[in-house]
Symmetry: D2
Subunit: 345 residues, 4 copies
């Protein structure tokens, strides 16, 4: 069984693991106050092209989302998200559990929020005397890549940043798969762009080759104050914080993070190419490590004998959308084997 069902089936990139082994018996302070975290933060600031961002390391994505959102919002404020957004559907109500409504938007093209949508949501919440009876929109949450593997263009991000500044919203970008996004063919978005446009974002490690870990970047000073308290309160402060620093050091000191992203995208492209060649259509147009082809139903059991993949639901009476997910760890031969089997359908 070859697993294309997600991008976290293996442990970590061997170079990262090796670094954990090398540093194992060092004695360091806890809670992220060590030299590895400090250096990893500096490496990330360099990628961001700015020294004035705070970098915090956390363990997982849901944890990071709920900590950032609950730290940023007052009780009556909510966060705008695509209805397909991770915070809306796949966090078991984590955001609501901290007290905040997710203002879910339907009809997002390619799973992406647009500046125009944000503007409309905000205006519909502020336009009359009963505005205090509604949740106040205060943050925009987006993921890059999205849950559907699609990417924002620099222009789209700029427009979102613009409307957020204009309306007094925070822009928060979930980069759980950022490595795959930054290295996708055709993207014009860099980490420095994101650090310039967004108030907060995170660089995903868990799904991009680390054992675990996300590096949160806080750019807006209003979000920085007392943030460590929130990390601790949400159970997100790792006692041996160095484990996160060491991993991000390894990923960012010589470009390993981007190498891993690129490799996954290349494996995914092999699968994508085979689907295009067979004339399969796609749920959406993803240049990243996740591919969502729509397959004839009879193909599924055959493929399922050799491969694990996710079912994304029937699209018509005889077809089903699936997700094939490559990762930093996918051997190109595995992608090629799947491609051949798809072509042979």
């Amino acid at each position: 069984m070859i697993r294309f069902n997600c991008d976290y089936s293996e442990g970590a990139h061997p170079k990262i693991l090796e670094r954990l082994v090398q540093t194992n018996m060092e004695q360091t302070p806890g809670y992220g106050e060590d030299e590895h975290c400090r250096r990893a933060a500096q490496l990330i600031q360099k990628e961001c092209g700015r020294q004035d961002v705070d970098v915090h390391f956390m363990v997982g994505g849901t944890q990071t989302n709920l900590t950032v959102i609950s730290a940023a919002l007052r009780p009556h404020q909510g966060v705008i998200s695509a209805d397909t957004g991770h915070v809306n559907v796949h966090e078991s109500g984590a955001i609501e559990a901290t007290g905040h409504k997710v203002l879910a938007q339907t009809g997002c093209p390619q799973g992406k929020l647009t500046a125009q949508m944000v503007r409309q949501v905000v205006e519909s919440h502020y336009d009359d005397e009963t505005q205090v009876h509604m949740v106040q929109p205060k943050m925009v949450y987006l993921s890059h890549p999205t849950e559907l593997g699609t990417l924002y263009t620099k222009r789209e991000l700029e427009a979102l940043g613009q409307v957020c500044r204009e309306k007094g919203l925070y822009l928060f970008l979930d980069g759980a798969r950022l490595g795959y996004g930054l290295t996708a063919p055709g993207t014009d978005v860099t980490m420095a762009d994101i650090a310039r446009i967004c108030d907060a974002f995170y660089i995903g490690g868990t799904k991009v080759g680390a054992l675990f870990g996300e590096a949160l970047v806080l750019a807006n000073p209003a979000l920085k104050e007392d943030f460590l308290y929130l990390i601790k309160q949400k159970g997100a402060m790792l006692a041996k914080g160095r484990l996160l620093g060491i991993q991000f050091e390894a990923m960012f000191e010589d470009g390993l993070y981007y190498e891993m992203g690129k490799a996954a995208n290349q494996a995914a492209a092999v699968i994508r190419q085979a689907c295009l060649q067979k004339g399969f259509s796609f749920l959406c147009d993803s240049p990243t490590n996740q591919q969502f082809p729509i397959l004839p139903d009879e193909a599924l059991p055959k493929l399922a004998e050799k491969y694990a993949f996710a079912n994304f639901g029937k699209t018509d009476e005889t077809h089903t959308a699936v997700r094939f997910c490559a990762s930093w760890a996918t051997p190109i031969e595995h992608a090629q084997a799947l491609a051949q089997d798809l072509l042979a359908l």
Copy 2:
């Protein structure tokens, strides 16, 4: 200026106020432990046709909704509502502030949830291995009349009750305007039906002639346990609880509640008739005290000189939906005056 903008522009029905005056200097225990509350509860049990329901008196609707929902749900559970539901849009995130997601459903016909929609929501949250990553639907919230003035039929309520029992959900009915619903022409739903079908519901006083107050009926034993703690915790326990008991006594000892409901519906029918006669269409088909005609835009400023009413948004380039709201306090002459002015447009 004649106010048709809501059903809480005046104080209370004079008979209710009179009763408060008569009882003013009685000394009673606090917190709803007095004889008036006891007797009011008995009167309501009689209307419900069952002695085994608990009755609690609270001050307002949002308060009642948030207390019931947070008492009933565990942290990972959510409540299904029409997207137009009060808990979804007009409570400033009150439900989320207690930690729970509102699973808002779009496309509800006439603002009403259907049994089929509930079934689909539940099934889409339980059908695969990742169900624990999603909020667990555990309650259905509906209002009767709905926010759009429409009514469920007995058959529709029975079907909702059936699917809730089948799927293990609580059925909770918000009756902020129940008096107008129970007395609407053509309805086949009685309070006893509601008490039989629902796990919990409340009988609105604030919008139906009381100074303030809602009578919550808990039928499902699972919802009764320790409920007083929740009332207290949410700041919903009135020190002089008797004020609520006295009002509901007055409303239910000789049918005043229904009289008030009927009077408002009749006033609304006068307005409705005029709109039909002019060929105006309606946002939805309401037999209750709220009417939502769609008017030509040029009519609005003229009407606004004499009447207060709510704007429900443009329906096309030259028309706007509005709400005229009659109440227990609306003199029939006011409705007739508006009807004439509508006909004269």
Copy 3:
């Protein structure tokens, strides 16, 4: 049975009720946007000696406390209170339910927090590198009169205000029984003092002669922003907000609030005098409407035949502390009757 068990056994002062009757059929906007609320707010600003405070009307004390505290604090912040404080023991965890720790202080002399205690709490939470592992103290909550009927002096309040400003804390005063405090013999504290020293406080109506209602005064601009959203979200926004405005108008337009306070204190003084004469000691030294004498156990059943009062626990093997509570509605003859029965023990 004569009730001395609390100060909310009756309805409202007849003048207040009369005003509700007079205004009953006025049509007004809802949610506190009416002229009565506006005028009541102005009367209160005048009592405060400042025009720049916001005044909001709410229904009850627990509701007001939880709304103010959750509006003011970020998630990692807590509120310092005497361990006997209402928010610590008698609100069923209302404050914690909004996410905040009550930092309860033991050993408060006469039930009062001191500036020195506040300073120590703050310093013990900030003094080392692990401060982010602890709740951050951000508000001081006190009641005046306290739960034990005692009063702060102006000097004590000034000192608390000073330490709060110095340490960046908000000072919030719960005035559920403020009317009794402001009119107590010997007090040097006025409402203007409170409005000058505190960031927020409320003027209790429920326990001082209104049917219900508390007038919240927000002096610190940081607490004012978006406060109406919080009122709505906590279910604390009365649809017919005018009911609150009308009552506070009646209480503050010609000194009725103070008259009622004074009358209760005088009744309490009669009871107190009898206890002193009998040589009973007291739990604490209260000049207000609540008296806490320590009685020989055998006296209790006798008194309980004619009077309702609260038991505050055994103080030694043969004695028990009780509370006799006079109110605006207590006829002086009732206090005299109790005094005589006490003297006759």
Copy 4:
């Protein structure tokens, strides 16, 4: 600088790390659904002497505490803890942030709650008509070892279990340092005892030799229902759950966990012996890896030149309590060096 300031200064025991390296490229399902987690759970069930407990793996202690407590309690319920308990002071309000009060008890002998204290707390919350105005005690939280390194005896635990059953409370044991407790000289408590007596407890990995991770054991069926939802919602579900399973497999398949505990206790005993020999007194009587001697103030700067340790506050004008913390990683030579320096003071 030799670090005795905590027990998480290093990475993981080499055997554990080695196992992570060996299994690194295995493809497994995520979220703890893998074979390693299954096997680790079985090993732990064996230690517990019961197959009917659920085992869940989580990342850290605060996370585990807040997830268990919020899963178990209804909104009006609270958890009884020693005032020195981790949930009360060192989790930045994590428990309150989930809505629950920590009912902190002062005066716990040796940092331990007693059955008698629990009984009194419960009785003081249930004894009169106003019980619904107070938080309802529903859980007892204790740590073993306590924050002060002390241990409950089997008899003390039995008594706590007894009072909890009698009063309908859950008994939850925080075993962040359980390995040190189970192997302490003189203890009569085994893991099977704990699994028999408690409703829930966790086996700490982070502080006892794992990279990170805690194994939560749920014995009471009432606590098991839907627990995975809560894990996910609190951001506590590790995508690569196997990392936890693999570590606990390594720790429990041949007694490594106990070996590590014993080694730390032995190192601590060396330090303890030196203190006793010098006649130093102790904050409390700890047989585990943490020692709290009271040193003359002038000794501190000298020791601080070579050793890191925690300051626990002045005990009188010339003395200060400190904490020396040994761990699974402490070479006995380091303890001996410190012992010598203590003796040489």
